[in-house]
Structures are given as structure tokens and as C-alpha cells.
């Protein structure tokens, strides 16, 4: 593949939040607040709320024994995938780790199919054979749903490779966590992505904890936006709890990748309210920390408050959205509960073609 001249690295907090990276509770100054129209706010509210309510229902169904194995909930991080998706095109590819339910809903995959996969039923998106961590949609260009921490970063770089090879201008949106950001293959991929100027946006969902190990305890340097510096990949740290900043940064990053300038890193400072998985009591952090995030930074509450303040809608309008979202989730849960288990013959299908 042809190389392009390396562009100037623009590391850390460029123009976005200007916040000091690594500050735990710093409430960053926010110059140039990105504009969100009424339509943007309402769309973000609805999409984030769907993820929230879906995940709450999944947690509930896990507790009832309807969902087995691992179940990693996205609650708290909704602004990241929602904001990214608001800046993306339908033909852009996306790939993430095992905390993937939100990503699938965001790209428009069927909530019924997602929930039925969680319950391991035949109407699940992978016929019940993938589970929570392994769902895909070639139609929506969603490539999983990957269970090995960091593996999706190389795979996502490969999606970008394919786009460039074919002369298409789609972008690969490759999501991974702060934990994966220490995996070796991430840097192997960074190197090749820049070497070949592949159209990939690396979205690091920094929710501060790799399972139970905090970023500070796992990483020599905690500014993850800077992780591409050795490869001359620009990076920004973004307030991942505010969907406006997420979309704004994503537009820059995606445009950069789409116009042939190569990869771009977005470090999304976010937070998961729940444990790493359903079986994690999250004893490694204080209740106060979680509560402070919920009450002060919640991505959905922020949008809700703005809608009311700016009179984009009133309480009744929001209640109506809530009602519609709940109906979708209830329907998905019913569907997933009533769908039959896969036929035993499915054990032996889809191994090879």
C-alpha cells in the first residue's frame, strides 16, 4: 500500500475539552460547546435511553436466569456509541469488545434479535450460538462482539484495510477499552494503520477500570489519547459523558480518516455504573464514586435537562419517549423469552461452509 507523508500529531485534548487528562474529578472547562439542535438532542435522548432501558432489562433477565454466562452491561457509557454513531455514515464499519449490546442497538440492529441472542434462542442474531459477546450484522456492517481483549483492534484495522484496498471511503470505527489499550497487538495495529494510512478511528472507551484494575494501577502513563504519539497518530481526550462532545470529536476523527489522512484516536472518558460483568460486585471502587458519576455526569440526565431547559420538549414529551422505549424493550424481552432454543441439529451447522 502506498504511504502518505506523516501528518503532524495532534495529541491530547485538542480543541475538544481542554481538560487535564487523568484528573479524577476535575470538571473541565468547556470552551466552544458543540451545537446540538432540537432534533439532535431528542435523537440522542431516545437512543441513549433505549440502550439504558435495554441493559437494565438484560440485567434483570440475567438475575432471573434467562441469560447465562457473561453479560457486560453498557450502562453509564451510552453517550460514547450514540455520539460516534451520530457522526458516522451507515456504510462505516464498527467493531468492539464483549461490552457490545449498546453498539448493536446504536447501529440499528434489531433489539428482539439482540435480546434473543442473550437468552440463547434460535431467533437470536447468531441463532443462539454466539451469546452476549458474539453478535454480528453484515447488513449494518457490525463485526462484533469479540471476546478476546484487544483482538478487535487488529480486526478493526483490517476492516479499514479492506476499505482502502477496494478504494471505498468508508471508515472503521474500532472500539476498545482502557484495559485493551495495554495489549501489544493494539500497537502493532497502530503502527500498520499509520504506515498504510488506513481509514480507522480508534475509540478508547476509558471507563477507568479494566475489570477491577484501575487505569492508574495498570498503566505507566494514563493519557490514552497520547498512545498513538509514537506512530504520529493524532489523538484527543473527550468528555465521553456528554454526547455533544463525543459527536463533535467523532466528526473530526471520521473526517480525518475518510479523507485519507489515516488513523485517529479518541479517548472517551466515560464510566460504567455496573460491575465489569453481572458477577462483579465492583468492590474496587467506592459507592460515592459511582454515585457522584450518576448524579453529576449521567449522559442521559444531561440531555434530558437541556431538552427541558431549552424547551425542546416538556416532561410529557419525554415521558412519551420513555414509554415508546420501554415498549421496545418489553417486546424484546417477551420475544427473547418465548423464542425456542435452537434445534439440536444446529450444533453441527455453520462450522465450515
Amino acid at each position: 500500500m502506498a504511504r502518505k507523508n506523516a501528518t503532524q500529531a495532534k495529541t491530547s485534548a485538542a480543541g475538544s475539552t481542554g481538560k487535564k487528562v487523568g484528573g479524577r474529578k476535575s470538571s473541565p472547562a468547556k470552551p466552544n460547546v458543540p451545537e446540538f439542535s432540537k432534533g439532535d438532542e431528542l435523537r440522542a435522548y431516545r437512543e441513549m435511553l433505549l440502550i439504558r432501558r435495554f441493559e437494565e432489562k438484560a440485567g434483570q433477565m440475567y438475575g432471573m436466569g434467562l441469560i447465562g454466562g457473561f453479560c457486560h452491561l453498557y450502562i453509564g457509557q451510552e453517550a460514547v456509541v450514540t455520539g460516534i454513531n451520530m457522526a458516522a455514515r451507515p456504510d462505516d464499519a464498527s467493531i468492539t469488545s464483549y461490552r457490545d449490546h449498546g453498539h448493536m442497538l446504536a447501529v440499528g440492529m434489531d433489539p428482539n434479535g439482540v435480546m434473543a441472542e442473550l437468552t440463547g434462542r434460535v431467533d437470536g442474531l447468531s441463532k443462539g450460538k454466539g451469546g452476549s459477546m458474539h453478535m454480528f450484522s453484515t447488513e449494518k456492517r457490525f463485526y462484533g462482539g469479540n471476546g478476546i481483549v484487544g483482538a478487535q483492534v487488529s480486526l478493526g484495522t483490517g476492516l479499514a484495510f479492506a476499505a482502502k484496498y477496494r478504494g471505498e471511503d468508508s471508515v472503521s470505527l474500532t472500539y476498545f477499552g482502557d484495559g485493551a489499550s495495554n495489549q501489544g497487538q493494539v500497537y502493532e495495529s497502530f503502527n500498520m494503520a499509520k504506515l498504510w494510512d488506513l481509514p480507522v478511528v480508534y475509540i478508547i472507551e476509558n471507563n477507568k477500570y479494566a475489570m477491577g484494575t484501575s487505569l492508574e494501577r495498570s498503566s505507566a502513563l494514563t493519557n490514552l489519547a497520547n498512545r498513538g504519539a509514537s506512530f504520529n497518530i493524532p489523538g484527543e481526550t473527550v468528555d465521553g459523558m456528554d454526547v455533544r462532545y463525543v459527536r463533535d470529536a467523532a466528526e473530526r476523527a471520521i473526517n480525518h480518516a475518510r479523507t485519507g489522512k489515516g488513523p485517529y484516536i479518541l479517548e472517551m472518558k466515560t464510566y460504567r455504573y455496573r460491575g465489569h460483568s453481572m458477577s462483579d460486585p465492583a468492590k474496587y471502587r467506592s459507592k460515592d464514586e459511582v454515585q457522584a458519576m450518576r448524579s453529576e455526569r449521567d449522559p442521559i440526565e444531561q440531555v434530558k435537562q437541556r431538552i427541558l431547559d431549552k424547551k425542546h420538549g416538556n416532561i410529557d414529551d419525554l415521558k412519551q419517549i420513555e414509554k415508546e422505549v420501554r415498549a421496545i424493550v418489553t417486546k424484546a424481552a417477551d420475544f427473547a423469552t418465548n423464542s425456542p432454543e435452537p434445534d439440536p441439529s444446529e450444533l453441527w451447522t455453520d462450522i465450515t461452509i
Binding site: K127, G130, F136, I148, A151, L155, G158, A162, G184
Partner: protein, 465 residues
């Protein structure tokens, strides 16, 4: 006393080469580091430099000479005060004597196209015609190296989605020269040099396959693929199943597998059994050039992830390859190399070399051997093996990999399960020894299977010994 300049070996497997060019003439003075000649093998062209100071007294091998045996005297160098009169008759090659020359680092741009070498020789054996070939098809002699090159090139000409990536595949023309000439034909978009990052580039290739491309990933050797085995197994092999049949991974992982020669434990491992255990993968390990070509083309067209295991020692070996516009062999079909009634020998890849030579010996002693080349290890062609063992009642499996949980172990178990009543003797496994590969020449030889071991095993199961 004059010093002999010997034909150097460029690699542990080189036995002879071409003296391409002399850069000095008789009477020239040389100092250490001066390049005196160029030698050429099927893999590379290298400069040879002097390690001593002196005068070139006599050139014994003229330039352009082919088949110059390693360690034969190619020239004689005179020290201070010596003259050409001091040179006695041409001495016999002495292997132990240190050479006055040493090869320089490998040249990046060898001139020759892939060609056959007589460096390693295929056993003389007349195998039965492959029933998968059209009757009376014309054959051409071709090395395994060239067969692999042709397979990739033909498929790349036919399908723009096929590309080759790996370390040194493009500008260097392939570490083992399998991709020689492909950069020139297909350009840097489709023949892609990667950094030395197996884990990363394998993941990138698998991701590209998810997006619909058909990558060929060359591992310089499969030893290095261990860095990438997560992407091969967890990402490529399981994708179709995990996605309920939705996402395919049409990709070929290929390269040299198994022991080469004198490269020590970390570079001498046979991974056949490892990959053959994984549902979702297709595993192919050809022996002949025809199988290498026909099966690599099939692998590239396969919608499944294929692990294609080659063997460095076989690259230079030549076989008959059919002259056909589009020669593709079926995956998952063993080849009956020789039909017989007394005993079944099953092998694959370079194991076929031992098996074939043992068969020659045994046939000459009156044992009617049936010889099967598995060619594909997963899916395993049990039908062919079972039918054979039901006829002969005896089976010996030959492979270079470790014996525990080997291909032979699997075949033994299946034969026990599916042909127990037909067996007249226990199934025997001839495999590499259960040790890391040693470096010392004698130990390495002991660690590998031998023709004698195969013959002894056949004698044991036929109760001849």
C-alpha cells in the same frame, strides 16, 4: 602454504550452487572483506568475501558453473612469498577445514525466477497416477516452490480480492522466494510487506477477510504464527459459528512448517496436530508440487479459513505437475500413492519422504505396501484410510511432529473405534521424538523419524521381525 577457497553453504540445507560470477582474476591481490565472487542458489544470490590477505593464485571453477558442491575448492589463494608453483594438484574437498571465505549477507534482489534445484532429491518412486487428474494429462517438472508461486499468481490474476501479505513477501521476493516476481506483477497494493508483527498483521488480515477480501497470509515459518494463533483460532476459525453462519473468514495462512535443518528448537516445530484440532479450520499439508499447487488454489478459493502447512526442505524438490489452465484439487481427499495388500502406511507432508523410501525398501523385500498421502489433515479422509486398513489389517502412521496427541494418535484412535475387528496388529505411530529439537547434527537426526524406523514398524505389524 596456499589456502584453498571452498564453495560456501548459504544455508544448512544447501548442498550445491552456481558460481555465478568471479569478481577477481588470477594474480589479483585481495584483503579481508574484498568480494571475490557471487554464488547463486534457487533462494538467493550472495557475495563471497575473502577473510584473508593474499593473491588469487588459481581459479579452479569457472564462472557460470552450476552444481558446484559445497566445500569443493573453487580457487586457491597465495600468501606472502608464495607463487602459483606452490599449488599442488587440486586437493579433494575437505569439509572440516575452515574455508578462507565467508558468505556475506543475502542479496535482496535475486535474479533467477523460482527454479528447481537438485539440492534435495525426491525419492525415486513411481506413484500411482492421481485419479483427480485428467487421464493422459501432460506433465512438467516443477519445484514445490514454483508450484506455490504459480498457485498464488494464478488466483491473484483471476480475483482482485486475493492479496498476499507477510514479512519480506514483496521487495525481498519472499524469505524462501515463494513470492518471487509477484511484486513486479501485482504491485504493492496486492503484495504487501508487513512489519515483524505477526499478531497484528494476522488480525488485520482476518478483519479484511470479514469485510470480504481473500487474504493470503505468509508466515515466514509457522513457528512465528504462534504469536498470532489467537487470531487464527479465536477470530478466524470460530467466526462463522459464532455469527450463526453470517460472517465468513475466507483466508489462507501459509508458510513453512516443521523442522528445517539445524535451526534449533524454536524454529523446528510441526504444528499440524495443533491446528487440526480446531473445528472451523481446514488444514492442508501437501507433499508433492502438484498437490501444493492444486490444493493451494483450492485453499485460496475456499470460503473457510485454511491453514496451509508447507515444508522448507521440500521447497526445492521437483515433481511432475500437470499442465492445465486451471488445476485445482479437492480439499479433504487423500491420495492413494500405491495400492497394496499387506500393510497401510499413512503419512503427509515431508513424512511422505520417509514413507516413500520405506515403501521402496519394503516392496523390494516383498511386502505389498499400500501408501496413502493424507494431503488434507482436516477434514480427514477417513474413508480412504478405513477402506485401506480394512483390507490390510495393519497401519503405520508417519509424521515429523511430536508423538503425543499427534495426527498418528488421532488416526490410531479412529481406527481402533471404527476398524477394531479388522486390525491384525496395533496401529503404530512413527513420529518425531518427544523432545525439543536439538541443534547438534547427530541429535537432530535422532529426533526426527527415519526410514529405518518406518521399515521396523512395518516389520513389527506384519510380524516379519
Amino acid at each position: 602454504m596456499p589456502t584453498d577457497i571452498l564453495m560456501p553453504a548459504l544455508s544448512p540445507t544447501m548442498e550445491e550452487g552456481t558460481l555465478a560470477k568471479w569478481l577477481v582474476k588470477e594474480g589479483d591481490s585481495v584483503v579481508p572483506g574484498d568480494v571475490i565472487c557471487e554464488i547463486e542458489t534457487d533462494k538467493a544470490t550472495m557475495e563471497v568475501e575473502s577473510v584473508e590477505e593474499g593473491t588469487i593464485g588459481k581459479i579452479l571453477i569457472s564462472e557460470g558453473s552450476e552444481g558446484v558442491v559445497v566445500n569443493s575448492v573453487i580457487a586457491v589463494m597465495l600468501g606472502e612469498g608464495e607463487s602459483a608453483d606452490d599449488i599442488s594438484q587440486v586437493p579433494a574437498p575437505v569439509a572440516a577445514e575452515p574455508s578462507a571465505v565467508q558468505p556475506q549477507t543475502e542479496e535482496a534482489a535475486p535474479k533467477t525466477s523460482p527454479q528447481k534445484t537438485s539440492g534435495a532429491s525426491a525419492p525415486v518412486f513411481s506413484p500411482a497416477a492421481d485419479p483427480d487428474l485428467p487421464e493422459g494429462v501432460e506433465m512438467v517438472e516443477m519445484s514445490v516452490r514454483q508450484a506455490l508461486n504459480e498457485a498464488m499468481s494464478e488466483e491473484m490474476r483471476a480475483d482482485d480480492d486475493v492479496f498476499l501479505m507477510g514479512e519480506e513477501v514483496a521487495q525481498y521476493q519472499g524469505a524462501y522466494k515463494i513470492s518471487q516476481g509477484m511484486l513486479a506483477e501485482f504491485g504493492e497494493r496486492r503484495v504487501i510487506d508487513t512489519p515483524i508483527t505477526e499478531h497484528g498483521f494476522t488480525g488485520i488480515a482476518v478483519g479484511a477477510a470479514f469485510a470480504g477480501l481473500k487474504p493470503i497470509v505468509e508466515f515466514m515459518t509457522f513457528n512465528f504464527a504462534m504469536q498470532a494463533i489467537d487470531q487464527i483460532v479465536n477470530s478466524a476459525a470460530k467466526q462463522l459459528y459464532m455469527s450463526g453462519g453470517q460472517v465468513q473468514a475466507p483466508i489462507v495462512f501459509r508458510g513453512a512448517n516443521g523442522a528445517a535443518s539445524r535451526v534449533g528448537a524454536q524454529h523446528s516445530q510441526d504444528f499440524t496436530a495443533w491446528y487440526a484440532q480446531v473445528p472451523g479450520l481446514t488444514v492442508i499439508a501437501p507433499y508433492s508440487a502438484a498437490d501444493a499447487k492444486g490444493l493451494l488454489k483450492a485453499a485460496i478459493r475456499s470460503p473457510n479459513p485454511v491453514v496451509f502447512l508447507e515444508n522448507e526442505l521440500m521447497y526445492g524438490v521437483s515433481f511432475d505437475v500437470p499442465i492445465m489452465d486451471d488445476f485445482v484439487l479437492p480439499i479433504g481427499k487423500a491420495r492413494m500413492v500405491r495400492q497394496g495388500n499387506d500393510v497401510t502406511i499413512v503419512s503427509f507432508s515431508i513424512g511422505m519422504k520417509y514413507a516413500t523410501e520405506a515403501t521402496e525398501t519394503l516392496v523390494s523385500e516383498g511386502v505389498d505396501v499400500e501408501l496413502i498421502d493424507l494431503r488434507t489433515i482436516r477434514p480427514l479422509d477417513m474413508e480412504t484410510v478405513l477402506n485401506s486398513v480394512k483390507k490390510t489389517g495393519r497401519c503405520v502412521v508417519v509424521e515429523e511432529g511430536w508423538p503425543q496427541f499427534s495426527v498418528g494418535s488421532e488416526l490410531s484412535a479412529r481406527l481402533m473405534e471404527q476398524a477394531f475387528d479388522y486390525l491384525d496388529a496395533p496401529v503404530m505411530r512413527i513420529a518425531g521424538k518427544d523432545v525439543p529439537m536439538p541443534y547438534a547434527a547427530n541429535l537432530e537426526k535422532l529426533a526426527l523419524p527415519s526410514v529405518d524406523e518406518v521399515v521396523a514398524a512395518v516389520n513389527a505389524v506384519t510380524y516379519r521381525s
